[in-house]
Symmetry: C2
Subunit: 650 residues, 2 copies
Amino acid sequence: MRRAIATVSLSGTLEEKLAAAAQVGFDGVEIFEADLLTSPLSPAQIRRRCADLGLTIDLYQPFRDFEGVTPERLAANLRRAAQKFDVMADLGADTMLVCSSVVPGTDGDDELAASQLRRLAELAATRGMRIAYEALAWGRHVDDYRHAWQIVAAADHPALGVCLDSFHILSRGDDPAGIRDIAGDKIFFLQLADAPRLGMDVLQWSRHYRCFPGQGDFDLAAFVGHVLAAGYDGPLSLEVFNDVFRQADAGRTATDALRSLIALEEAIAPDHHEKAAIEKAANLDGYAFVELGVDALGGELAERMLHGMGFARVARHRSKPVHLWQQGEARILLNRARSTGDEVAITAMGLESDDPAASARRAEALLAPPVPRRYGPGEADLTAVEAPDGTSIFFCRTDGAAADANWLGDFERLGEFERPGGEEAPAGEEAPGGEEAPGGEEGPGGEEAPAGEWGIARVDQVSLSQPLHYFDEAVLFYRSVVGLRRHDPEDIPDPRGLVHARAMTSAGSRVRMLLHVPALGGSRLPGTADFQHVAFACGDVFAAAVAMRAAGVPILAIPDNYYADLAARVDLDPERIEVMRSHGILYDRTDDGELFHFYTAMLGRRVFFELVQRVKDYDGYGTPNTPVRMAAQYRVSRGIPGGSTAGSDP
Amino acid sequence: MRRAIATVSLSGTLEEKLAAAAQVGFDGVEIFEADLLTSPLSPAQIRRRCADLGLTIDLYQPFRDFEGVTPERLAANLRRAAQKFDVMADLGADTMLVCSSVVPGTDGDDELAASQLRRLAELAATRGMRIAYEALAWGRHVDDYRHAWQIVAAADHPALGVCLDSFHILSRGDDPAGIRDIAGDKIFFLQLADAPRLGMDVLQWSRHYRCFPGQGDFDLAAFVGHVLAAGYDGPLSLEVFNDVFRQADAGRTATDALRSLIALEEAIAPDHHEKAAIEKAANLDGYAFVELGVDALGGELAERMLHGMGFARVARHRSKPVHLWQQGEARILLNRARSTGDEVAITAMGLESDDPAASARRAEALLAPPVPRRYGPGEADLTAVEAPDGTSIFFCRTDGAAADANWLGDFERLGEFERPGGEEAPAGEEAPGGEEAPGGEEGPGGEEAPAGEWGIARVDQVSLSQPLHYFDEAVLFYRSVVGLRRHDPEDIPDPRGLVHARAMTSAGSRVRMLLHVPALGGSRLPGTADFQHVAFACGDVFAAAVAMRAAGVPILAIPDNYYADLAARVDLDPERIEVMRSHGILYDRTDDGELFHFYTAMLGRRVFFELVQRVKDYDGYGTPNTPVRMAAQYRVSRGIPGGSTAGSDP
């Protein structure tokens, strides 16, 4: 299918928009009238520019409120149309979009509309052009695509057809299956936009919140399926009015846009193509590793904290200043060659893929930018792509099944004497305070881990701040390129502003991510705006808290008021709550299970760790407690009394 | 009336919120539960903190979904309430807010609700406390304040009353007059919030878009009038959930909040007070002057452009490096002592007030921060206040009627030989090209100015960029402190992002302002994000364009495509359009009249000028043409071909 984008979806001048669309590989554009009117290029120059770029001009939309008017107004409208046909002839565009009238004073009589549109089509036909009539969701008389089609059918002119716009149809909740009743050759154009379900005035919703397919809540695969079943064979064209895209870099938006179309085509492929054009997302079985880029100070701080948390330094990279710290299946790479300006930052994630090569091919097909790497002799040919926030994503396998992608082959194991974290690693030891740690029937995690063994088992989740205004792009990236499922969005209040968050989970929940971004830009951002964290799953957070306290790991203190409220809210044993209070352990409960979790203090300016213990089938991220965590972090960052770390001075 | 604010309306920690509320002069606070739970201060410590700050704790809102539940759930809820009464006792708060239940599984039977709320009230009474029951607009069974009052009346307990929230009532379009039917002593609390009409899901609307009274579209004066008429004598309390306020500086938000209450009290005063507490807004009769702060380069550039535009340097300040340039009644001060980091920036406006002293007293009463000034001997005691964007606002008179405030007395007039702009000023001269300039029946401005006299008459409008996220504050400032009327908001697309704009006009339209701000923050802002401009009214923009071109003033070029479309849209004489094209003159038309206008090139990085000619009763700001202007400015700023200035090389 040919792929097109409306110039209104991209920022900048018309020339910049065209260049961006061509650069990423779009086949055509819709030219929005305001972009032409504000351009010093003549229509003929625009035509040449597009031809040079390999772009067709698939649609021009110069005016509305054409039909249902008085004879005098019709004459004026036809005169104006004639002038716009001149412009289109110069542009080399042959299809004009005409939206259903919205102004007061127009007549809603269908016969009148049909006869006037027929007049326009006759005029268009003399120029070798055609008219695509579209029902706006807020059209005054015609707001339903079936109604627009009735009028077009009644007008019965070969140069008159309909334009279908997914937003105008799906925003109203109309059944798109009726599209199959439209003659395929009378569907002159197809405009695609997704949108989040916002329950707001449809005009404002359309003008500010449209987004690319897969970024909203509409079922565009089913929608396009109906259109293709009707026999449409024109371009899939994105027409997205979106405040963010208007402000974003045009090249970045164009990439995001094309990725959304490729993913959409994949979703509709089973019905309409012999085979999907791109590789399926491989199954992901967890985190192979999380890499922290560290500077000299950050490296020291990270080693000290990891050591206190029971990690051991087990291997070093053959050619780079990278060390592997491990506990259970949790692996942290400390990379001293990748400093970010922060003491510590999450710079890469290794995802365990059942088929790393297929994952890499899929990522490439979906326009994920490759991360250039230099290889030392004998190192694995790891493919990495760059996520929208700059994090490198490696698809790899830790077992030996795929030798190529076994990243551990790049590391040489350290002897015991080289492993400063090894000899003291508390994993497997009887944790101090073990008698008090839960292990009985009511104890969290009693089912999962034997009492006294609290060790970290694996990376449970990674939480990454996203660049301002690129949140939808990031969600689509992780959804399409990585193959994660997105959860419903949540708003979380930080003391200095609202934060949007979206959890993303792989099938089987072995890879969990949490993406977050401030709700508003500006010079005053939430303190947590660029925080990142790694949560580790462990069998007994109570024992872990005791052991980490003994090892001197600073823990984030949680206010007493939280525990007083917890006691009023839930039926936990008061003594249990008292232990939680003393260790800063938080609690969440759903119908599926329970979560006990606590946070370390900051490691540098951006990063912290979390220890989580999921009880039964708890599948969440503990977000009800996130405001409490953010407020505590805010206090610490500002040096406000009460912001000390738990257990540091009991 | 006592004035209170909910802690949720301010950013930061609880201590920071309390300090900000007390600092600006609030009498009390509502403590939002999340603020207490995340605070390390105990309830007793919070009570002491509030007492030290002179704040009462007027309301606590610890839970919801109390009523309409099973007996078991009721017992649990009462246990929890008892614990919350303990917290309230420690806080010294005696009123608990209970919102109508929203969860599924609750029973909508009114008798059940009344009996359960009575149980809660009985428990509260034993603690000397009381329950204020509020209908949420999205309550499951109770969403109307009249319904909540029926239940409260049926429960018939002295410790049970209603809480009225303006948002929950006005968002639904409910008639607030029914409030007069509620017994005054049963209205336990009054929460105030305004909101823009957004036509969206009421829950999201409430959580993100509430604003302070006067910033939205609700008639809060009438609303509060009903509540006072019912006999309510408790505090006016602002409960505003707003994404911006969550992120803004708490002190700034608190000032904005208190200003909104003072203005609200003024609006309801005629009915409920002997006299308004603050001075009425004085009539404004135009701009006395606009001051440009300039550095050395900016001063030179400004002088050259003003000279070319026909201004003359007529006076200099007695003690400061400030010169007055004048043409007609348009006065520009070039102030070399007020540099802003930009070559040229608008730093002050003098507004002609019928009573400058009264205007100053009003501004002070409305918390406008005074601008500290140093006076030289014999200088007028001008009072200035600082607008939210940092611009100084002077209330003054240019005539001699009020000697104190006659700011011109600070200036000494220059002799002819000292007036470089004087001898060549084209005002009054026959403009070159005068034959072609319109003057006949169809000519714009033919009614207003004799042919050949194109001189600038006065400042028509000033357009000021506003700081990100403080747009509502700015609109309220100019509305309340300065006394301007606000127009409907508009969204204007700049090539690099959407811009919100709001016109503000004085009674009689002698003072016009346009405030604008990027719709989104972030590192990539619209190029026009911090632009400012002064528009001058003149009798004949055609002649002005010719004269200014002859004088070498660079004019912003407008693309030919604009004029091709104009010819298709309106019935202007093609020759006229050709003249407009050659001079970059734009056109707008409403039912009231016409506007012809053009723009100069930039003067420094931020400022430009506009010349406008209003025909008949055109009362707008030419905003349909603003995207064209912004796109042209964007091209110039980026050095993109086609962005040259009109007439510079015909």
